[in-house]
């Protein structure tokens, strides 16, 4: 299968520090890829390289190639278009302080003039895809901040879906949520896998095991091991991977 994103010899610098070292992997389409590793290992940085969120930080520099639809995202692609196609869900749910409806409508409205009727359709479809529609259909006009943490996170996912991305980046999306909300998000991720390439950073080994098809283990800015999740969790090849996933790191 054609990979959703191809990364070739990626180096990433923050000022003088080399935060990512010679990373070359293919992110498969229609699969969930988990990025695991200890804090500060570069997994979140890597995630943010993929939609160029690191551009917001001064003093960052990148070498190597990242190909998305055969286009080098750092050279030949419009930044806004990239971020539209590569959506991102953050660690802490961050719905805008607006109504539920306007949160979802925010993205589509940015990119083009759109009729109210079409917008209604997009909002409903996005909320349904994020399995939130039934919970919020009667409160579309009330503030998104009134939703529970788990609902807010699903709203953020729906907000991404509304601009029709091809890739979803998730940065520890459940670390601020209770177990039930976490389970709902995990189910959602599994459902969404059919339509998107999903890359998820997680500190929760069990979560990576439950929802991902592939796992990459990061350590000190390098990928130590990358492979099918069942292999990594069952019989990792590298001793460092084994130590990390069995909780004996360091």
């Amino acid at each position: 299968m054609k990979p959703a994103i191809t990364i070739k010899n990626l180096n990433f610098y923050y000022r003088q520090v080399m935060a990512l070292k010679n990373i070359s992997i293919d992110i498969p389409a229609n699969r969930v890829t988990a990025l695991i590793g200890p804090s500060g290992c570069g997994k979140s940085t890597f995630l943010r390289v993929l939609n160029r969120m690191n551009d917001l930080i001064e003093g960052t520099r990148i070498e190597g190639k990242i190909l998305f639809n055969d286009t080098n995202i750092y050279k030949d692609m419009d930044l806004m278009k990239l971020r539209k196609k590569v959506g991102m869900v953050f660690q802490k749910p961050n719905p805008f302080p607006m109504s539920v409806y306007n949160n979802i409508a925010y993205g589509p409205r940015l990119h083009r003039k759109i009729s109210d009727k079409e917008l209604d359709g997009i909002v409903e479809k996005s909320l349904k895809s994020a399995s939130l529609w039934d919970e919020v259909r009667d409160r579309m006009e009330s503030s998104a901040l009134g939703l529970s943490g788990g609902q807010q996170q699903r709203l953020c996912i729906a907000r991404c879906l509304a601009v029709q991305p091809e890739v979803l980046l998730m940065d520890e999306p459940t670390s601020a949520l209770d177990p039930v909300s976490t389970a709902k998000i995990e189910e959602l991720v599994k459902d969404l896998r059919d339509k998107f390439a999903i890359i998820i950073v997680t500190h929760n080994m069990q979560q990576a095991g439950r929802i991902s098809d592939y796992t990459a283990f990061f350590l000190n800015g390098e990928i130590v091991e990358y492979g099918a999740t069942r292999e990594i969790f069952h019989r990792p090849v590298d001793k460092r991977t084994e130590d990390y996933i069995t909780g004996r790191f360091g």
């Binding site: 969790f233 069952h234 019989r235 990792p236 084994e242 996933i245 069995t246």
Partner: protein, 219 residues
């Protein structure tokens, strides 16, 4: 101390329990064979009674493994260790059952004169005992070299089994009166051969536990 001290200690404890179970099984096989060779039905009854100890220990180990899986979320090497322990105790328990089966034969043949002196069966018993000892050492030391040498012993025991089988067949054909006893001895040799198979299984599980890859020493 590492960050998973609790799990590490529990795994050490698990090892110790398995070692104890292995020791009890070894002893049961030993005594059952002695009871048969030396016509000691009292010893045979002891073997049967002591089997409860082994069964209890098996349950205890099972419980511990389930608890570790439920509370410690073991992965990779840890998961394989615990899973392997569960499989190994099943094999050990079967071996103990075979020892009991042999002890029962002793009791069945109580007061009877044996149709022939037992020569090959004690040799098989020696081999089987040796394999049990080996497989326990393989487990304790995670010794993959010793593990891969076990199939040689298994071949020997299989060859002996065939030899005993043919010999007893001859006895039975020559004299139908021997059929009753000969069948019993046939069963004993069969039990010993099975004990060897279980010891081989244990070695295979240890290989899996260490490498994550399945081995097959029975071919």
């Amino acid at each position: 101390m590492g960050p998973r001290r609790y799990l590490d200690n529990e795994l050490i404890g698990l090892n110790r329990m398995l070692k104890r179970m292995g020791f009890l099984v070894e002893e049961a096989i030993d005594r059952s064979i002695r009871s048969l060779v030396e016509h000691e039905s009292a010893l045979a009854r002891e073997v049967i009674a002591d089997d409860d100890l082994i069964d209890d220990l098996e349950l205890e180990i099972e419980e511990k493994c389930i608890n570790l899986i439920a509370t410690q979320q073991p992965l990779a090497g840890d998961l394989r260790k615990i899973f392997t322990a569960l499989r190994i105790i099943t094999d050990l328990e079967r071996m103990a059952d075979h020892a009991v089966d042999i002890a029962k034969v002793t009791i069945r043949l109580e007061g009877q004169q044996y149709i022939k002196p037992l020569i090959d069966i004690p040799r098989m018993a020696m081999l089987a005992r040796g394999m049990v000892e080996d497989c326990l050492n393989v487990y304790m030391d995670r010794d993959l070299e010793l593990a891969s040498s076990i199939n040689k012993k298994d071949d020997e025991i299989d060859a002996l089994y065939k030899q005993v089988f043919r010999e007893l067949l001859v006895y039975m054909m020559e004299s139908p009166r021997t059929i009753d006893q000969a069948t019993q001895f046939l069963m004993v040799s069969r039990f010993l051969e099975r004990i060897g198979d279980h010891a081989t299984n244990v070695c295979e599980w240890v290989v899996y536990s260490v490498t994550g890859k399945r081995a097959n020493f029975n071919e």
